[in-house]
């Protein structure tokens, strides 16, 4: 491993406090991540020292708040290698980011018979807005199928792309862990005159992100899955596109002028940031970026790859055929999200016994009901790894699963 996980764990008060240190095994970072003390401190000190509304204040305190917020925007822009910080739009979460693309770009550019191509891995946040457009504008929603092992089946990509105006795909699956070939899809989309949107909620927190390398036109992600606060999401978009798009929410901040007859919109990014922004959350996300940069995203990725390999081997060794881990098993094409079926014990019941052993996992459909249907299951048990997890966490998961098997065989 490239960094010391036990040192990392100490940075996270919830994980390292006396009550939890040996007894809480947190394996649900795909749902939300824990926060380092530095991020918590920055959010608190914002309110203690520099809180004021941004952009319009004529006093020094307001300037400090504005600077703190816009500095965070720069940091986030650099974090994903965007060239212009105006391409960073703050939303409340990745779901809102994707809704913004659908309701602003989509509503203005898509019509009857236009196709939006989704992968069969998608989370509801990257499905429902397109179903809504199907209802309101008559677009067609089409699906890229999966292979047996949970990778995207691109054998028919040319045919799938007929009539497509947007390819919208997950950067990494929150169910199977699959990491689709985004660059291939973005290039294929551009070749037919379509755009590419990436739901990077499970991607940005876990690996170095470079929007130019990915080649996409829109990228959505969320702060609370990357050691940042809840209530802050990001939409990155190419400035040429954002400049053409109509505003999403209307109100203060996003205008240049308002009269009784109408309004003119502000320039980007503020055109898409109506009302008082979540300032403390933005500043907190900037601190999360600082923290992750200090660890190094290459290190985060390598750690997760190593730990995922350990997890796949350990679970296979200890449980064999009794434990199915869905999705690919090759860590070069999958991240640390492990959806499982254990014997014939229902995920609610598995997660109940795991909880009794202090192991936190998620049971359910993970906001991916179409994918559940393809897998032929109603729900799965999902454990997910992050930079503060280590081999002892994986061992604890295995021990708790074994206890679950024993409990339900009595």
């Amino acid at each position: 491993m490239s960094f010391d996980v036990s040192d990392i764990k100490k940075d996270f008060p919830l994980l390292s406090c006396e009550e939890n240190n040996d007894s809480l095994i947190y394996l649900d970072s795909a749902a939300t991540s824990q926060k380092p003390q530095k991020v918590i401190d920055v959010v608190s000190s914002y309110y203690e020292e520099i809180n004021a509304n941004v952009h319009r204040g004529a006093y020094r305190l307001a300037e400090k708040a504005t600077t703190a917020m816009e500095d965070a925007r720069e940091k986030i822009s650099d974090f994903i290698k965007s060239e212009r910080s105006e391409e960073i739009i703050f939303t409340k979460n990745a779901t809102e980011s994707m809704n913004l693309v659908a309701k602003s770009w989509g509503a203005a550019n898509l019509g009857e018979g236009d196709v939006v191509l989704l992968s069969s891995l998608e989370h509801h946040a990257n499905i429902v807005p397109w179903h809504q457009l199907a209802e309101s504008q008559g677009i067609e929603v089409r699906w890229i199928p999966l292979t047996e092992s949970g990778l995207l089946d691109l054998t028919d990509l040319d045919r799938l792309l007929e009539g497509v105006k947007l390819v919208a795909v997950s950067g990494a699956s929150n169910v199977l862990g699959t990491v689709p070939p985004v660059r291939t899809l973005a290039d294929a989309a551009h070749a037919v005159g379509a755009l590419c949107l990436v739901d990077a909620s499970q991607y940005v927190p876990h690996r170095p992100t470079d929007v130019e390398e990915l080649g996409c036109d829109f990228l959505a992600f969320t702060g609370h899955k990357m050691c940042g606060p809840t209530g802050i999401g990001v939409l990155w978009g190419r400035s040429e596109l954002l400049e053409q798009m109509p505003p999403f929410l209307g109100g203060g901040e996003m205008i240049l002028d308002v009269t009784q007859e109408g309004f003119t919109a502000n320039t980007i990014p503020w055109k898409f940031e109506a009302g008082t922004p979540p300032i403390s959350e933005i500043v907190g996300l900037g601190a999360a970026v600082d923290y992750l940069e200090s660890v190094g995203m290459e290190n985060v990725l390598e750690h997760e790859r190593t730990l995922t390999t350990y997890a796949l081997h350990t679970l296979a060794d200890r449980f064999g055929d009794e434990l199915i881990i869905h999705g690919p098993h090759d860590v070069s094409v999958r991240g640390g999200v492990l959806s499982m079926a254990y014997q014939d014990i229902h995920p609610h019941d598995v997660s109940q016994v795991l909880d009794d052993h202090g192991v936190c996992v998620r049971a359910g459909h993970h906001c991916a009901k179409p994918l559940m249907k393809l897998l032929g299951v109603g729900s799965t048990v999902r454990a997910s790894l992050y930079l503060y997890n280590d081999e002892s966490d994986v061992d604890a998961l295995a021990d708790a699963l074994e206890a679950t098997g024993k409990f339900f065989s009595r």
Binding site: Q352, G378, F407
Partner: protein
Amino acid sequence: MSGLEDLYREIILDHYRNPRNQGELEVPPAVMAEGFNPLCGDEVKVHIQVDDGVIVDIKFDGQGCSISQSSASMMTTAITGKTLEEVEGIIYSFKQLMSIHEKSLEGGSETVDSSTTGLGDLQALQGVVKFPVRIKCATLGWNTLEQCFEELDEN
């Protein structure tokens, strides 16, 4: 009794492994309703046949956790052959059981008397209240049954 053992009593696991009254009825004359658990992952379908205000037949089906499926199974045995008024009483008693605060369970000061309320085996689900998030599993079949009654009222 440990929390888990209280939750997963023998009778519950028995109903889960050997569900009673599993299946479907022909609609019409039966009515059907389908319910989904907000704690996602459970589905229950309930078919009921009502003649002259009596539940003459009831079937349930679905996929879900031990709590949701066993509760639905126990529900079917508790209400078969009962009048609609009697069933309303049983539903009320069951919902009372599910709303007992977990603290009062330990003191034994607050229980629902199964002999007077027709709850029978359902009493075993009392332990669910220690795990509030699973209450929705236990009540899924019952809420679906109530949807059946709404269907009946509409017809």
